[in-house]
Amino acid sequence: MLLEANTVLAAEDLTVELGGLPVLRGVTISVRAGEAVALLGGNGSGKSTLVRTLLGLLPHKRGTVRLFGTPLHDFADWSHIGYVPQRSPALLGGSKVKEIVAAGRLAHRKHFRPLSRADRDAVRSATALVGLSEQLNADIAALSGGQQQRVLIARALAGQPDLLVLDEPTSGVDLEHQRALAEVLAQLLSAGTSVLVVLHEVGPLRSLIDRAIVLTDGRVAHDGPLGDLGQHHRWLGGHEQLDHDQSASHDHDKGSESLLGGAIEP
């Protein structure tokens, strides 16, 4: 694969085995600067395994990963990367929202130094961006599931990353939160941030996505614009023939149905 100068993330021939079973079989993908790439696929297709491997959280058996042009094992400047995991033990309680978000600044901080003004500002603006300014001092356990998901996003944003990697940020989150997430991502993209987002369905993020990569059984089954999904169009979610507003309303998410149902009954 040709490495372009503006490639922020590149994986080549990535093979990962978990418990002796192959999960990824020769995956080659890349994300260019400023690009929004959706990683789609069914349960067990290897989406989460792929992003976790790209970030060095899982070992790979074969292949190479480069972050900002540097091989993964030599990569040191993690302040470029913002990771939003699907779940986090941080949500189990015992922390204030601002403590969790401030952890996202650690790639910028030196040992034995208190939070700087820049750190505090970054925590405040990241929390404001996801609409949780009022909850800065709340216990994380007191927040709803959707709000907790936004705390994890704010934590990644506090590091002011150039590449944001999100693992199913819309799963189990109602349509309102999905739309709020779309707004946040739109702002980041317009500021030049690159985004790699694992999705079960594209849903409300559709208009933001530049390119979709579909994984099937640990292999790349599609890599191209959303419009060319062809046989993989089911990952779009919603109904393609409807316009943007309405397709968003037709999301299969349970929460969105109750939201819409509540809205239609007088």
């Binding site: 970030l55 959280l57 995991p85 033990p89 403590e99 709340a138 309102e176 809205a263 007088p266």
Partner: protein, 332 residues
Amino acid sequence: MIEILTYPFMQRALIAALLTGLIAPAIGTYIVQRRLSLLGDGLGHVALAGVGLALLTGTAPIPIAVVACVAGAVVVEVLRQRGKATGDVGLAILFYGGLAAGVFLSGISGVGAGGLAQYLFGSLTTVTTNDLKLIAVLAIVILVITFGLAPQLYAVSTDEEFARTLGLRVRLYNIAVVSLAAITVALAMRTVGLLLVSALMVVPVAAARNLVRGFTAALIGAVAIGAVTALGGAAASFYANAAPGAFIVLLAIAVFLLSWPISYLLRRRRTAAVLPELVDDDELVAPHTVTESHPHRHAPGCGHPAVKHGDHTDFIHEGHRHAAHADHYDEH
């Protein structure tokens, strides 16, 4: 001056108790956060092997126990990191091996298992000047690290994977945390004792978590509770002429039990004061919520689905529904 402060051995014992009361909850906060609350108990068993060795060789027990305990802690952590300690069997073998070795070594040294009791439950009269020097130096190291590196240790103890994506050397921090816990356990043998030190690492933390909100506040609260209960327990044991460990731990548990009703009262007051903050604003739509900005004017045939709603028409627009009201739109 109060009577107990006139005895040099009690001065040493009280300083040792205070330092133990400070460091045990300080490192315990991270141990509890990592959900390793019983680690301290296991490490106490390993420390006994060090005590046995010291009795056999006739040397000071604390330094040897520190070394044995840190070695055991590092072995446990490395096993865990390699995914080999998941079944707990490896830990059990290590911990009970340490206990058995301690009893065996003390037996062949001629002291016998009964001689170990003072190390298991603490003994005020046994704190030597050299012990106190070692405890003071190591306590300062532990406090500097647990408070100075609090942001890093918090991140690693709370969400290991995320910490790795921050570029933090997670394995090193984890080994540091268990090593500091091991040192704390060994240092505590004179005051709370090896069998009860784990309680002083966990109970003040649990109490503080009931009383205050947030990790940093809980860390400070736990250290304060630990210091007070350790000092109070050590002093009480002098008058009762019993092992200090029992008093210290019972006092800590009393604080923990009291923290329940206190936290209930605090929470009630807090909830009353900050109710709007805790309300889930995302699912709640107030009867008269004004749409913030809305340049588009809805009318029949404007393209947005229209729904009849009492005396007016609502328009469905990006998943929410609103109607014209005077110069703005209301959310319905």
